[in-house]
C-alpha cells in the first residue's frame, strides 16, 4: 500500500466538498441543506489541516479554528431562521418559500 500523502487528504476533502454541494443544491428539506453546509465547511477544514501538516505551519490550524467559529455562528442563526420560518409558513421545504417569486 502507498503511504498517505497530502494529495490523499486533498482528494478526500474535494470529495466531501462535492457531496456537500450536491446536498445543498438538490435537497428540499432546509435542515438537511444546513447539514450539507456543515459538510462543506468540514471539507475546507480537512484541506487547511492537510496543508498545515505538510508545511509544518500552524497558521492553517488557526484558520480552521476560525472556520469552526463561523460554522457555529452560521448554524445558530440558520436554525433560528428555520424556527421562525416554520412558525410563519408551516413548512421546512426550501422550494415552497417563494414569496419573492412572481
Amino acid at each position: 500500500m502507498h503511504p498517505v500523502t497530502t494529495i490523499h487528504y486533498l482528494v478526500l476533502s474535494a470529495a466531501l466538498l462535492l457531496i456537500g454541494t450536491v446536498g445543498v443544491l438538490t435537497r428540499r428539506n432546509v435542515v438537511i441543506v444546513l447539514m450539507s453546509i456543515e459538510l462543506i465547511l468540514n471539507a475546507v477544514n480537512i484541506n487547511l489541516i492537510a496543508f498545515s501538516h505538510a508545511w509544518k505551519n500552524i497558521n492553517g490550524q488557526i484558520f480552521a479554528i476560525f472556520v469552526i467559529t463561523d460554522a457555529v455562528a452560521e448554524a445558530a442563526v440558520g436554525l433560528g431562521i428555520l424556527i421562525a420560518l416554520f412558525r410563519n409558513k408551516e413548512t421546512v421545504l426550501a422550494d415552497e418559500i417563494d414569496l419573492l417569486k412572481w
Binding site: M1, I19, R27, I83
Partner: protein
C-alpha cells in the same frame, strides 16, 4: 506506516459514507446521525495529522454542540410531513451536472499538481502550545473579532426565535 494507511482509509470511509448517507436519507434524524459519523471521521483525520487541539474541538463543539442543536431543532419543528414529500427538488439534474463540472476542475488541478505534494514529517513541539502561542499573539485581533461575531450570532438567533419581534 502501514497502520497510518489503514487508519486513513478507515476514517475516509467513515467521512464519505456518513456524508453520502446524510444527503440521501429521507428522515432528518437519520441524516443528523450520519452527519455525526462523518464528523467523527473528520476528527480522526485531524488526529492523524497531529492537530490534537482541533480533534478535541471537533468532538466537543461539532458532535457535542452543533449536532445537539440540530437534533433539538429537528425535534422542535415537526418533520413528519416533510419526510413524506418529494425529497429532491426539480433542478437536481442541473445541480449534478454543475457539481460534476466542479469535480472535473478540481480533479484536473490535483492531477497537474500531484508532484508538488510529499509525505509530511511530524513536528516535535506540542500542538496545543503552538496553537495557543499563535492564537494569542499573532492572531489576537481576529480572535477578539470572532468573539464579537459569536455575540452577534447569539443575539441574532434569539431575535429570530422570538415569537414577536
Amino acid at each position: 506506516m502501514l497502520i497510518d494507511t489503514v487508519l486513513f482509509y478507515a476514517f475516509a470511509l467513515l467521512t464519505l459514507g456518513g456524508g453520502l448517507l446524510c444527503i440521501t436519507r429521507r428522515n432528518a434524524v437519520h441524516s443528523a446521525i450520519s452527519l455525526i459519523v462523518s464528523l467523527l471521521g473528520v476528527a480522526g483525520l485531524y488526529l492523524m495529522q497531529q492537530a490534537e487541539f482541533l480533534f478535541a474541538v471537533q468532538i466537543v463543539l461539532y458532535v457535542g454542540g452543533i449536532m445537539v442543536l440540530f437534533l433539538f431543532v429537528i425535534m422542535l419543528v415537526n418533520l413528519d410531513d416533510a419526510a413524506k414529500e418529494r425529497q429532491f427538488n426539480r433542478q437536481w439534474m442541473i445541480a449534478l451536472v454543475a457539481t460534476l463540472a466542479v469535480a472535473a476542475e478540481i480533479g484536473y488541478f490535483l492531477y497537474r499538481g500531484r508532484d508538488a505534494f510529499h509525505i509530511a514529517v511530524a513536528s516535535t513541539v506540542g500542538n496545543v502550545q503552538q496553537v495557543a502561542d499563535s492564537l494569542f499573539s499573532e492572531y489576537l485581533l481576529p480572535f477578539e473579532i470572532a468573539s464579537v461575531l459569536l455575540l452577534v450570532a447569539v443575539v441574532g438567533s434569539v431575535i429570530m426565535a422570538k415569537k414577536r419581534i
